[in-house]
Amino acid sequence: MATATEPRGPAGLQLSLVNTRTLLDRVLTVLAIGFAAFALFPLFSVLYMLIVRGGHLLSPMLFTELTPGAGMEGGGIGNAVLGTLIVVVLASVFSLPLGILAAIYLAEYAGESRLGTVVRFAGKVLTGMPSILAGVFAYAVIVVTTRSFSAFAGGVAMAILMVPTIMLTGEQALRAVPEKMRLAALGMGASRMETTLRVVLPTALPGILTGVMLALARAMGETAPLLFTALFSDYWFDGKLGAPIASLSVLIYNFSGSPFAHLSELAWAASLVLVVLVLALNVLAQVIIRRPKEF
């Protein structure tokens, strides 16, 4: 607000609430923040619910004990936490190369070509696939042929859910890398491959990581794919990837509906652990891959 002693600048640069444009700007900002808070309210509501119902079970014992039977005291979710991590590693091993290389194909080589369009559509249709279909497919292809439920099949089912998101967000991240960086590298004598791997990919890494984290977060929270492939195990992982394995999402599915209070509380605690786990993975990955400065 200009007083008599302050110099008056050109009219358009003054920040005065009397000015309609500024007023509109302020109002919109307030509205936007209001909507954002509204959008985030469910998150806090859910977290509150989880903490209230399962928070009191958070202790080291939770991670070192096996899942209890109905009506038993004590016990924990250790086998499920370990199992989830193992399946996540498996799924990443399958989905990261496939998703990122497919993204590289779409961003660097496909352009507007026919095959590129088809690949992109395939990715979009795959994102719309119900998670249960991924489980059913992995069941039909792997469990039936190996005649056994296995962690391996679970990893495949999870990877199927992850690949489309990684590919599509990866493509966007790669496309966002300014053309001039590619041209500069090529101009210096780098081959296509070197340009892509040494220049474009590292620059796009934060964006690709966003996609990976989104895919991972979703996959870790889905029950159906693992229910038909990895089943569950009440015991610690014994090194056999060809046998059923515990996981947090199936545990939550099993226990959350239990009429026995202790088990349903474990389910809430497991949900909390899962959310924190994803957050930790997220933060860890962001720490490892810092966003480069803007040009």
Partner: protein, 320 residues
């Protein structure tokens, strides 16, 4: 520091190794791109394998029928198709609006750098919550919360088709609300990336001309990032179509479709989740038929979306 000698080594025509590596890499990239298509084809094949017999038996009656009765062999998915489209529409409308708003807040300098990072992680936390937990939250918290509002709206504005029934529990509104929350992180993250990819000089130029922040947003940022934002919406819609567990608990499993927000309904993915574990052979085939229909719907919507995109961005080429 690159010495003069190294300069000469760097800027030279590609070596034989480099050329061969390039060809291999190109081939590998094509291969993996094709692999994604093959994956979809394999899934479609698997679905069709089971759906085939059901398709022959039920043909088009499947689409108009409203009865799902495994004992009598009657299968119809009209309520589910309508339910999927209806709930996803609301989720996209609300989720798209909120998602883009959040993306704007995360990228247009409303918050400090650190604040943006924290908020970004907070939003991504929404994606970390398991589907089952959303379903439970919907039943324990959301439905009781909505009940008084729904009752009031039904009483006073019951004539309006959107409010024409009572809210007895799960239904379109809780399902759409939870769907909105679940697709929010996807839309926000992808839209944010799109907005962050807009060259800063465009915004700087606009600010330099005296535009307010929201003027820059509406006239520069959103139009430039529109392609990416649209992509975000399409991804979000796809996710909404496929959401399984939460909707199995919140859609209400009624073989009816009503425009009322408060009536129970059903979606294709929820139908699959609810019936698949106990399904016998005939029912599995019918369920696979329904799954095939869902895939076709997703494909159709994506094609429409791309056509719209092409028309809309025809004039925006060359901005970079």
């Amino acid at each position: 520091m690159i010495t003069g000698k190294e300069h000469a080594q760097v800027a030279q025509p590609p070596t034989g190794w480099q050329t061969r590596a390039d060809i291999v890499f190109r081939g590998v990239a094509h291969l993996f791109g094709a692999a994604v298509v093959l994956l979809l084809a394999a899934i479609v094949f698997e679905v069709m394998r089971h759906a085939g017999s059901s398709m022959l038996k039920h043909r088009l009656g499947f689409f108009s029928g409203s009865v799902w009765d495994a004992n009598r062999g009657q299968f119809g998915i009209f309520p589910e198709i309508a339910g999927t489209l209806y709930t996803s529409f609301w989720a996209l409308l609300l989720g798209g609006f909120l998602g883009v708003t959040l993306a704007l807040i995360l990228s247009q300098g409303f918050l400090s750098r650190r604040g943006e990072l924290v908020m970004k992680n907070v939003v991504e936390l929404l994606a970390a919550i398991p589907s089952v937990v959303y379903g439970l939250w919907g039943i324990f918290v959301l439905v009781p919360l909505l009940r008084p509002f729904a009752a009031w709206l039904n009483e006073h504005w019951g004539a309006f088709p959107l409010f024409s029934t009572r809210l007895s529990g799960p239904g379109v509104l809780p399902a759409s609300a939870v769907l909105t929350i679940m697709i929010l992180p996807t839309i926000t993250a992808v839209a944010r990336e799109a907005l962050a990819a807009v060259p800063p000089r465009l915004a700087a130029a606009a600010y330099g001309l005296g535009a307010t922040r929201w003027e820059v947003i509406f006239r520069v940022m959103l139009p430039t990032a529109s392609g990416g934002i649209f992509g975000a919406l399409v991804l979000g819609l796809g996710r909404a179509f496929g959401e399984t567990m939460a909707l199995a608990m919140l859609a209400g499993n009624a073989q009816t479709f009503s425009w009322s927000l408060f009536s129970p309904g059903n979606t294709l993915a929820a139908l699959l989740a609810n019936h698949f574990p106990e399904a016998g052979e005939y029912e599995v085939n019918a369920l696979m038929y329904a799954a095939g229909v869902l895939l076709v719907i997703t494909l159709t919507v994506n094609i429409l979306g791309s056509l719209i995109m092409m028309k809309a961005t025809a004039g925006l080429k060359g901005l970079r």
